[in-house]
């Protein structure tokens, strides 16, 4: 490794380009008492299963910033190509951007080859990119899809190693979800059984892991059809309040009342609805 002006260069084997990571910025920031903003992580439970006709991907919908829930209903199942989807755990920005980059490159590749993209291709592209960044891109992915060779499911780790398996789980809730899979997985399940199994695995993560929560999203990929079910199960619906803190008119007695009319002319009216879900 070369040391040059405080930057560290890590040589990359596969295509010969160089990555640099600026350690100086973080050091300087720490010296004056600031820390670089904590990246938003998707605490997360994600999983995938291969069943008789295809693959099913599942994910929870909670995004955390430290111990605070930043997004109660984020989407963790990302589009790669019409027949391939990818769940992402780890740093939210990293999973989002990585899947978008590979999705874009895969679309160009498919146009160039004139063929429907294969899951193994997406896997290679993802692992080569993540290895190049030596684990600094915090993206842990569950990649699944159906191509000309049948259904395939891969788990991809931030350092660039991949595993091809019939069922995988990732994220902070992965141990809870894997426990469900190891108990009830069978090869060649029917679609409904497989959907129920994935739903239960994500639910195990949601209820037993602090980093996962809210709803369960599902994505069913088969040769003929694609079902992006968001949400499949609203496991944590907001309750209805039984009481009200509003006071009745007359609780405070009125002593005097004076009304002054304000003569205003309406110039422009715009309405912006706020997402209060």
């Amino acid at each position: 490794m070369n040391e040059h002006k405080g930057h560290k260069y890590i040589f990359q084997i596969v295509s010969g380009s160089i990555l640099s990571w600026n350690a100086v910025l973080e050091g300087e920031a720490n010296k004056v008492g600031y820390s670089l903003p904590a990246a938003r992580k998707t605490g997360t439970t994600i999983c995938g299963v291969v069943f008789k006709d295809g693959v099913i991907l599942g994910a929870d919908t909670r995004a955390t910033e430290g111990m605070i829930v930043a997004d109660k209903n984020c989407s963790k199942i990302h589009y790669i190509s019409p027949n391939i989807y990818c769940c992402g755990a780890g740093t939210a920005a990293d999973t989002e951007m990585t899947t978008q980059i590979i999705s874009s490159n895969l679309e160009l590749h498919a146009l160039s080859t004139g063929r429907v993209p294969r899951v193994a291709t997406a896997n290679r592209m993802l692992k080569q990119m993540l290895f190049r960044y030596q684990g600094y891109i915090g993206a842990a992915l569950v990649l699944g899809g159906v191509d000309c060779n049948g259904p395939h499911l891969y788990s991809i780790y931030p350092h660039g190693s991949t595993d091809k398996l019939p069922y995988v789980t990732m994220g902070s809730g992965s141990l809870a979800a894997m426990a469900v899979f190891e108990d009830r997985y069978k090869p060649d399940m029917e679609e409904e059984d497989a959907k129920r199994l994935v739903r239960d695995a994500i639910a195990a993560g949601i209820f037993n892991d602090l980093g996962s929560g809210s709803n369960i999203d599902l994505c069913v990929i088969t040769k003929g059809k694609l079902d992006y079910i968001r949400p499949h199960d609203e496991a944590n619906k907001k309750g209805v309040r039984t009481g009200d803190y509003k006071y009745k008119r007359g609780t405070t007695s009125v002593l005097t009342k004076s009304v002054t009319a304000l003569n205003l002319e309406v110039v422009e009216e715009t309405v912006l609805t706020m997402d209060t879900s």
């Binding site: 030596q134 684990g135 780790y157 931030p158 350092h159 992965s174």
Partner: protein
């Protein structure tokens, strides 16, 4: 355990804890590996086949960092493909081992993986090469991975030259079973690959079929 959010494994590198072994016999080689891949204290894959094909009759056994080992194997697989087209015949095992060694040596500060290369070619028959830290040495047998420390005594005492293929396979399975018993980072099933001039044979020995020793 109440505070443990379990996200430590996200930052911990995925390692193939591992026991790997390759043995040469007259006419070929036998390679063996366990199947456990761990990230910290969590097992992320309990059935990984760590015997990766570099060519039809040349395999390598992976150990150390999973990403580094997988990447080296895939890069060398590609390089051997090109090389064998260029020379218009099956590559030599020594060539494959040299390609692995070149990467291991050049990037020895950045990488932390050890690959054992073994196979059969027409020129020198069965060969086993170790490439630890970027050296290249041909050996009658080689062991590697975290589990290998526990079985050095066993392999040194039990190995004999001139074993048959079946005796080698039994030797490999015994070694793996002993290492799996003692090493926490090794486990799962045993994968055995036998290569000779007639072809390549892959076999899986499930956990409960592994040979048992005095304490079982």
């Amino acid at each position: 355990m109440l505070q443990e959010t379990g996200t430590e494994w996200l930052s911990q590198e995925v390692k193939t804890g591992t026991t790997i072994i390759a043995v040469e016999f007259d006419g070929g080689v036998v390679l063996g590996s366990d199947s456990r891949v761990s990230a910290g204290a969590s097992v992320v894959n309990r059935v990984m086949n760590k015997l990766s094909p570099l060519h039809d009759k040349i395999y390598c056994a992976l150990s150390g960092s999973a990403a580094d080992a997988q990447t080296i194997a895939e890069v060398v697989h590609y390089q051997l493909d090109v090389h064998s087209i260029e020379i218009d015949e099956d590559p030599q095992v020594r060539s494959a081992a040299t390609l692995v060694r070149n990467i291991s040596y050049k990037y020895k500060e950045e990488l932390s993986a050890h690959l054992i290369v073994a196979g059969w070619d027409r020129r020198d028959g069965g060969q086993v090469f170790a490439t630890l830290s970027g050296l290249l040495t041909r050996q009658p047998f080689a062991v590697g991975g975290s589990g290998s420390s526990y079985v050095y005594g066993f392999v040194d005492a039990e190995f004999r030259r001139g074993m048959s293929k079946e005796e080698c396979q039994q030797f490999v399975v015994n070694t793996l079973s002993l290492a799996i018993n003692r090493d926490g980072s090794s486990g799962g099933v045993a994968y055995i690959v036998s290569i000779d001039e007639h072809g390549t044979e892959e076999k899986v020995v499930l956990g409960n079929d592994l040979p048992t020793f005095f304490d079982q």
